[in-house]
Symmetry: C2
Subunit: 456 residues, 2 copies
């Protein structure tokens, strides 16, 4: 029987944080420069101007610790934010653990994930600078649907290159983007040089996030300024916008009278993890509050646990600037796991730096273990996790079981970044015993890493 | 550009209503008796005991104006309740209307609809009386997934008869029920006499809500007391549990400093409409606060606007007690519209009575008009309405446009009972121009009404 006293910690509207937290101000050492893909020289704001509005470029390089959230962005946030922080009492009981498990639930946004936190901000800044159209990529569709919605709110056309395999396997994610008025292509397309070059080598190519990024970047770069490019993860300004999650969670944990021993999130490009974790990392770096940070990634695409820390392209074709990050090689093609949002060869540079500095731990998980934990979570807490977020759930369950063994009253906080209502086919496959646990594709990664740019 | 100041009206946890509102206390005249299907004599509590726990039977006939929500039910509600009340400022702007549009959003529940409000209560009362298993029917799957979740919370097995056409067309709704641990059958099955009798006449029968009810009732009736039956709409106690919506909305409208001129909801069996409207009907009946109530139904299954007010069965085969309601005939098979939750031949007896008394208006809508309004809503407010709730959205848009014509500052309140994340195929069909606008099936209804029981 439920015994759920004090399961929810809300904030009033007037308690919603008015600033994003910029971890660049507190990093133990400065992040490596971003390099021009041709010259390998550091890029400046002007190099990025064809792709991004200047306000976002300035955020990308800012070292101000707090950056104000513009009023029109806060107004849109306010529809579903502050998001709830839950104590997972029924899950704790199901696990019979002394751990206290808290989760921040981002699935309450209209598209069911954390992605609008940056989509709304990016649409706003672009609109402010007169941009009429944004191009972007999407894998499983979480990001594309968020930007499509934000575009509708701010009167900006949105053109989306969706990884072809997802376009075919997840038609409803495409539908939701179209419902918001966006144009959606199955990538690789024959609309761009990047797409045509891929199709020339392999007409049956089913696409990847890296290829879709190449196409979207090309559309913006060749638009003569009418179209800008928008990215849903990896970049500093994207991670910055997501810190609203952790800034809220800091206040909510205070209301709960608790503080996390461990903060957990899943990582693909790194944005939902960073959004929750960075404000707590900041507390540790500035105030010495000791916390463990655990990034949960898929065994099929384990950039933090198996990637090398080196300069690489953000896209497959090699059009983006070079960033230093954990990477499996820019043209590595991850196996087709259901957590499409985690199928990215690289990792946010700042997450990579913090992992390199020993501040962030990482652990890779197999699909079946992820879904096993997600089903337990659904039956206890009611919310069906998206397969991406399920990686965090798996990590949480493991931590809670360890706490049970050791008898330790560990406080666990994690980001339930989205619901799985669009991913029930994956649950079906799990129940039918048809989910494949892909081993780490060591040879393919090694080969891809051979093809990385040599930066001296 | 968004201009959304004061778009959200929340309640704190301690402001959540502690009682359901029972409209039976305030009806202008007593509702007609429920009759035994064989004898046509009024049924008593004992007649219903094989199907329902006594606590729910007592609620079914109670005339107490307020009924306390048990603490364990409030604890579960508290995960997502109080639900937000939104002012639809961006929609108002898109329509350029002087109307002030408010909506109560029930899609924040873990299954994305209002259905858990009664599912959780029913699971609780059954668990209190030692029931180990519940049988139920579901059409589009909203109700089945809610009861499956509630069963998981309270340790009750749930067996669901899902209309076969939906089982095949909406596999992900089936998946979500299975994820919560429920057993799901495609109805008609060969597991029950009711199902076998239907299949004997028509082996290709694709099912209906009425047939699925027959099967679920039979499972409970023949279980020897181990299994009870659970219904997701129509009955008094179901509508009662849904009044948490309107009780919250009363407080939230007060916070907004406004009061509705018109309250709108979609109707299938009538529960989400009643949940929002009844507390406002109560204000009108008791305090004379003048409000219009508008029930939005599908043209393909227009029980309030075209049904007759008469005694009929709640199911297709004729196993349930007879209730006086607006009905299209218990074996009428509605055309296959996408709003599966509205494909029911009858209407809640209390909603029917209030319609008969002139307190509730009704209007029927075609599918394409519903989706046109829903797309406008999605692009303005971000939330993609479920096709059922889209009927309410259509009614709201029409009212707001009328207000624009007349220049009247009308205050509109409606129930956005669920999100459409499971219904994107319907949006696809709309965009592809493939949605059929079924005319009112007058002949089929007339024939079905001929086959209704003759109560003298």
């Amino acid at each position: 029987m439920p015994d759920n006293v004090h399961i929810k910690y809300l904030l009033n509207e007037d308690e919603m944080p008015r600033t994003w937290y910029n971890i660049m101000a507190d990093l133990p050492k400065p992040p490596p420069a971003v390099l021009h893909p041709g010259t390998h020289q550091p890029v400046g704001p002007d190099d990025l101007a064809p792709l991004f509005p200047m306000a976002l470029i300035m955020q990308e390089v800012s070292t101000e610790p707090y950056i104000e959230i513009p009023e029109p962005v806060r107004q849109v946030y306010n529809q579903w934010r502050p998001t709830p922080l839950f104590r997972a009492r029924r899950l704790e009981k199901a696990l019979d653990t002394p751990a206290r498990i808290y989760y921040k639930y981002e699935g309450v946004s209209p598209v069911g994930s954390h992605k609008p936190n940056t989509a709304v901000a990016q649409a706003f800044y672009n609109q402010q600078e007169g941009v009429k159209k944004l191009s972007t990529e999407t894998g499983a569709g979480q990001w594309g649907s968020a930007l499509a919605m934000a575009g509708a709110f701010f009167g900006i056309d949105v053109e989306i290159f969706m990884v072809k395999i997802s376009y075919q396997q997840k038609p409803y994610r495409r539908s939701i983007m179209q419902a918001y008025g966006a144009t959606v292509h199955a990538s690789p397309t024959n609309l761009t040089d990047a797409g045509r070059s891929i199709l020339a080598q392999d007409p049956e190519n089913m696409g990847s996030l890296g290829i879709a990024i190449s196409e979207a970047v090309e559309v913006a770069a060749k638009s003569g300024g009418t179209t800008k490019y928008s990215l849903g993860s990896v970049l500093n300004h994207v991670l910055l916008h997501q810190t609203i999650i952790g800034e809220e969670a800091l206040l909510q944990m205070e209301k709960a009278g608790d503080y996390p021993d461990v903060v957990i999130g899943c990582v693909g490009g790194g944005s939902n993890f960073s959004g929750l974790a960075f404000p707590f990392v900041g507390q540790m770096l500035r105030k010495g509050l000791k916390t463990r940070f655990l990034a949960a990634e898929p065994m099929a695409c384990p950039s933090l646990t198996k990637g090398i820390y080196a300069y690489d392209f953000g896209d497959t074709v090699g059009m983006t600037p070079l960033v230093k990050m954990h990477t499996l090689g820019h043209d590595f093609m991850p196996p087709g796991i259901h957590a499409g949002g985690l199928r990215y060869h690289g990792m946010a540079p700042v997450v990579s730096l913090l992992h390199e500095e020993g501040i962030i731990d990482a652990q890779a998980y197999h699909q079946n273990a992820v879904f096993e934990a997600s089903v337990l979570f659904a039956r206890s807490e009611g919310i069906i996790p998206a397969p991406e977020a399920g990686h965090a759930v798996r990590a949480v369950v493991d931590e809670a079981l360890k706490a049970k063994e050791s008898g330790k009253e560990q406080v666990i906080l994690f980001n339930l970044s989205g619901h799985g209502h669009f991913d029930m086919a994956a649950y079906d496959a799990y129940f039918a015993g048809k989910l494949q646990d892909f081993e780490y594709p060591a040879e393919a990664v090694a080969a891809a890493q051979q093809r990385m740019p040599q930066v001296v």
